[in-house]
Every structure is written in structure tokens, then in C-alpha cells.
């Protein structure tokens, strides 16, 4: 799947999970940029992402993401 398409789908997941319709992710977005995205919600987001894309991340991968772009990279790798 293309990066832009994944980004769009992630945006929907974020809006849904964090219950915030104003979220507008970019590739460089980090937890500092998005309101309510923090350690506990991060796990909820991960679960929602895994369910949506039907993939499973390792603990290492989850803790390695520094921004959305890296998250998308992991998703793409899982889809191969």
C-alpha cells in the first residue's frame, strides 16, 4: 500500500480512537504534535492499527517509532 493511503487510514484511526475530529497527521507528526496521544492511548492506537491492517507488531517495533513516517514504514513492511 502506498504511504499516502496508509497515512489517510491512520488519520481515521487516530480520529476514532482519540475521539478528536481535528486530528490531521503528517509524516513528521509525533506524540508531541497530537493532543491526547501519549503512553496509554498509544497502546490503544496500536491495537486499533493492528486490527485494521490485520498485522501484529513486535514490542521492539512499537517502541522504536519516533514519528508517523516510521510507523508507516513498519506497516508497509508487515504488508509485504
Amino acid at each position: 500500500m502506498q504511504k499516502e493511503e496508509i497515512l489517510n487510514q491512520l488519520n481515521i484511526i487516530f480520529i476514532d480512537t482519540l475521539d478528536n475530529p481535528d486530528i490531521n497527521l503528517s509524516f513528521h507528526s509525533t506524540a508531541n504534535d497530537v493532543e491526547d496521544w501519549d503512553s496509554l492511548n498509544h497502546i490503544q492506537l496500536v491495537v486499533a492499527i493492528e486490527k485494521h491492517f490485520k498485522i501484529r507488531f513486535t514490542s521492539q517495533e512499537i517502541q522504536s517509532w519516533k514519528n508517523i513516517d516510521e510507523m508507516i514504514g513498519s506497516i508497509q513492511r508487515k504488508q509485504v
Partner: protein, 480 residues
Amino acid sequence: MLFNSIPFLLFFSIFFILYWILLPENLRIQNLLILGGSYVFYCWFSWKLGLIILSYSIIAFYFGFYIHKTPDLKLKTRILHIGVIFYVMSLAYFKYLNFFISSLNSAVQFSGHTPNLHTLNIILPLGISFFTFRILSYLFDIRNGKLEPATDLVIFLSYVAFFPSLVAGPIDKPQLLIPQLQKSRVFSYVKAADGLRQILWGLFKKIVVANNAAGVVDFAFGSNRLHGFVLIYGAFFYAIEIYADFSGYSDMALGIAKLLGFQITVNFNNPYFSQNIADFWRRWHISLTSWLTEYIFTPASIAFRDLGKAGSIMAILITFLVSGLWHGANWTFVAWGLLHGCYFIPLILMGKMNKKKSIDPAQFLPSLREAINMMATFVLVMFTLIMFKADSIKSAANTYINIFRIYPFSDFKVDIPLLIYTLSMLAIEWFHRDRNHGLDIARINNMTFRWTIYVGFVFLILFFIVGGEHKNNAFIYMKF
């Protein structure tokens, strides 16, 4: 050495002059001085301590390289685990072996047999929980690819034994301190002056508030007049004492580091102005909370992520169990930790754990809602401190029960001066809550006014150093 002692004053005065004057801005000399100074500082307590921290540091230095060099992730992790087991076992030996033996003895006794294991005469190395966690953080971060191993042994040894934060934290992350050790420090008058102010503030909290509160606490809990109001009075001042003591020490640590050109981790952010328990733990002993969040809570949450809120609750209880055990070898600490973990349950169920709470710095007073939240959180924390302070669960339980025994409080007087110092401390920190510390007053331009404040504080501190009881000089958290 204790920060609030004559030997330290002498040591640091000499150290400060050597550090900034002997070949200034020579990185090698600066770092050798930090290393040498840190070991002198630590070995002041006992030379054996120096041996322990040196050997632990050297082992970690080499482990770091092995972990980093190993390309295979599974093998990397295995080497990491060996290292972690070594350090946790050593910590367990020093801290928990006697606890384990006496608990085992109790269990054996309970089942009707005679226990025959004797507790050993093991002295707990000062600050071992703190520097062990520094080392573990280093090893975890290398395995996780967040950090390259240090190549300079002097720098690494200095990171582990950094004397401002050695005996009672903050637990500095390697990414914060090691890069600072890799660049020479340039003297900054502004930083140094700020450091001095912070030290002064820390000394005020320790000597004027904490040491005096300790007297009241000993009176309230030591006597047999165990009736309700005295115990609440004692618990209140214990909460004040432990805050003033620990945050005072942390302020001094940060101030001393600033005098040497370092920025170390902030450890407190006005925890008694918290509006719920999650907020409290983001403001109390921040470096430990960060450590536990990164290395225990987050991995546990990830592992239990399929269990939804139940998984989060399990993760928080495990985290606070570890926190309790970190504090010490007693069931009271375990109970204390679990109590705090339980306090999180309503927040997790309501999905409010991570909602950041902050009060606008421009607000003069808290709103009624905010004030109620703060007082409720304070009472919850105060309640757990009775367990924290107790020698045993039984003793804590007695105290809790006795709080409800109301007798006429005829033979007890509130220590008014102490109340004034306490309220002053809280008021100053409230009005300066958006600043780095209570005495962050550089922006007051009137020099006369500023110097009046400094002299006033120094006077007050000296008054209590000279006139006060000296048995309270050690910092509470040094025993962890």
C-alpha cells in the same frame, strides 16, 4: 558526604575552584576531576562503596559494547538479560536477602515449624538503587538502539557516579548526561547564579522545613497518645517532611550540577498541587516515574494490549509493585506501591489516566474544583505515607485504626512556626509554579530586594543549622 555538611562545603569549594580554574575548558581535565571528585565523595562513606560502584560500572561498560556489537536481535536480548539478571540479583542481595530470609522464617513459623535461617549482616550500599537503575537504563537503551555505547571509560564512570545525583538521584538518562560529559563545560555566570539560588531553596526546604517537621512527626508517631487528631497532624507533617526533604535534596543536586555547567533531570514539579494520582506521579520523583514508565509500564502495556483496560490495570499494578520493592525490603513498601496502583484503577476505567492537568500560571488562586482535587489527591497520598513510614503492616494497620480514636486533644500544641514555614514554602512554590524552582527570581530587577531575600534565607538556614537537632541531617531517600 551529605550536601548539608561542612566536609561537603569544603570539598565542593575546592572542587569548584579546581574545576573552573585548572586548565579551564580542557575536557579531559574537567572529566577526570568529575570522576575523581565523585569517587572521593562516595568513598567518604566507605572505600568499599567505591569498589562496588567501580566494578558495576566497568562490567556495564563492557556489557554495553557486547550488546551493541551483536547483530542478531535475539542474542542481543539474551546478553541484555544476563546483564539485567546480574544487576537485579546484586540489588536483591544487598537489599532483599534479609527481607527474603525473615519472610521465609515467618512463613515457616506460621506453618508451625522452627525457622533456622539467620539474617546476614549485609550493609546496604548508599544509593545502590539509584545507580543500578542508571546502569540498567544504559543497557536497555543500547539494546533498543536508542543509544550508542560510550567509548570513553572516564565519561561512562562519571555518568554512573556523578556526585550531584549519586546518593539519591535524580536517575539521569544516559542520553541526557553522557553528551554533556562529551563537551567541555564553559562557565556561565547566569547558570551558576541560578544554581546557587536553587541550592539555597533546597537547603531551606531541608533544614528549615524538613528537619523541623521530622521533630513533629517523631512526636506524633513516637508517643502513645495515639489519638485521631495527633496522628493526622503527624501524617500531614510527614507528607510535608518527605516532600521538603527529597525535593530539597533534588534542588540541591540540580543546583550543584548547574554550578558545574550541567543540566540534570528535574525530579519534582509541585506534586502537592496535583489534581489526581496520575498527575501526582508525573510530578513526584519524576526520574523514577519516567524510568518505570519506559522500562516496565510500556512493555507491560504492550504485552497485555489485547486485554483492554484490564491489561492496563495489570500493567500499572506490576509497575507499582516494582516501585514499592525498589523503595525497600519490607511488605509495607509493597503494600504502599499496590495502594497507589489501585488508585489508578478508576482513572483507567474512565480513560482519564493521561489527561494532562495544568493550572494556568496566570491564575492567582486555584478554582474551587482545582482546590478540591488537590486536597483530595493530597489526602490520598498522605494516607499511603502512613504505610510507607510504618515498620510493619501490623503497625500501619494500628495507626489507621487509631486515627479514628478521637480523644480530647488536651496535651498537644500545633507547632505554629513550622506551620508558617510550611505554608510559606507551599505559597512560594505555588506562585512560582511556572518557574524552575521556588527561588527562580532572576527576573526581579531590584537587586536590593533580591539580596534581602537571599540574606533572609541564609539567616534562617543558619539559625536552624546552629540551633537545630542534628540527627535529622541525612536525607530520607539516601537509604533507597
